[in-house]
Amino acid sequence: MYVLIAGGGKVGSNLARTLIREGHEVTLIESRDTRFAQLEAEFEHQVHKGDATELFILERAGIERPPDFVVAVTGDDEDNLVICQLARHRYGVPNVIARVNDPRNQPYFDLLGISPTVSATATIMALIEHEVPAHGLIHLLELKKENLVIDEITVGERAACAGKELGEVAFPAGSRVISVVRDGKAEMPDDSLRLESGDSVLVILEPGKEDELRRVLVRE
């Protein structure tokens, strides 16, 4: 496999090292002088000096072959956005992967159809949500194409919904309860099931409605 990596920082250089060790062909592009000198000592001809948003730099690095993957992991989101668009639409690269440095820029990647993206902040947040039950809500699954997520949420200790039947609880529009887990046993509930605090409720819903769901099941 041939992989072109734009950006030779920690992420880019470690990725290059790992791919080379696994026998893949890699070209790395780095623009900063001192960083390039360090990388050249290790990667020799596999690293090119230059701005990976310049077409002639990309071409010199072999983007016209084209690579199986272009990975844009520079520290600037606007650069990663431009590199991925050039790779896909100008050079016909089948797979692009982009790093999102500032999670507030994620809408740019979504708008321009650049996916998958990798964001350290988003990854750590997801891990915290998985690991800290006090947070209340766990993302179990994200179905990006279908625009749905499956979340697990625990009914709060003094939640207003505890003691109510499922049918009486005003779940967010378009959501559906898949299962209620009580004392480790999963039930396929009907509307008459009475919720208790401590129940884990599995719900399928549209992303972005999690806060609403949390209010319904946790609020006192």
């Binding site: 948003t53 310049e54 077409l55 002639f56 600037d76 989101d77 606007e78 650069d79 956005l81 431009v82 668009q85 050039l86 639409h89 100008r90 507030r104 820029n105 809408p107 740019y108 708008l111 321009l112």
Partner: protein, 136 residues
């Protein structure tokens, strides 16, 4: 209208359009950029990064008739222009791109691009040709 990036070009565009009666909001990362607009600037001025979507909304991009993107970064200009056009549906978006290669590619992707470098190249080439013609 919105001018994003108030350097030499952006500030001059903002001043000209304001003088022509447009309602103009200028965005720049540096507070000092306000200086380029002069002491009697009567438009709006917001400090912040042009990619900041919250700032763009606060600047009224959703209702803007035109957006001119002239920050000092080609790639920022490109993605801000794409956002203004495709997400916010601004009817007239003009983007300054200095690199002719990127300018050509993103023009082919539907952006309204101005490339001063290309203009300078053709003007200079023409000037030399004209001088050569006069010598003969």
């Amino acid at each position: 209208m919105l001018v994003i990036g108030s350097g030499r070009v952006g500030s001059a565009v903002a001043l000209a359009l304001r003088a022509a009666g447009w309602e103009v909001t200028v965005i720049d990362e540096r507070e000092e950029a306000l200086g380029r607009l002069g002491d009697d600037w009567t438009g709006e001025f917001l400090v912040g990064h042009g990619m900041d979507l919250q700032l763009l909304r606060a600047a009224g991009i959703e209702d803007a008739d035109a957006v001119v993107v002239t920050t000092d970064g080609d790639n920022s200009n490109i993605v801000i222009g794409q956002m203004a056009q495709q997400q916010f549906g601004v009817p007239s978006v003009v983007v300054r791109i200095l690199d002719p290669a990127r300018a050509e590619f993103f023009a082919s992707r539907g952006l309204n691009v101005v490339c001063p470098t290309s203009s300078a190249i053709s003007t200079l080439t023409e000037a030399v040709r004209a001088a050569e013609g006069a010598l003969r």
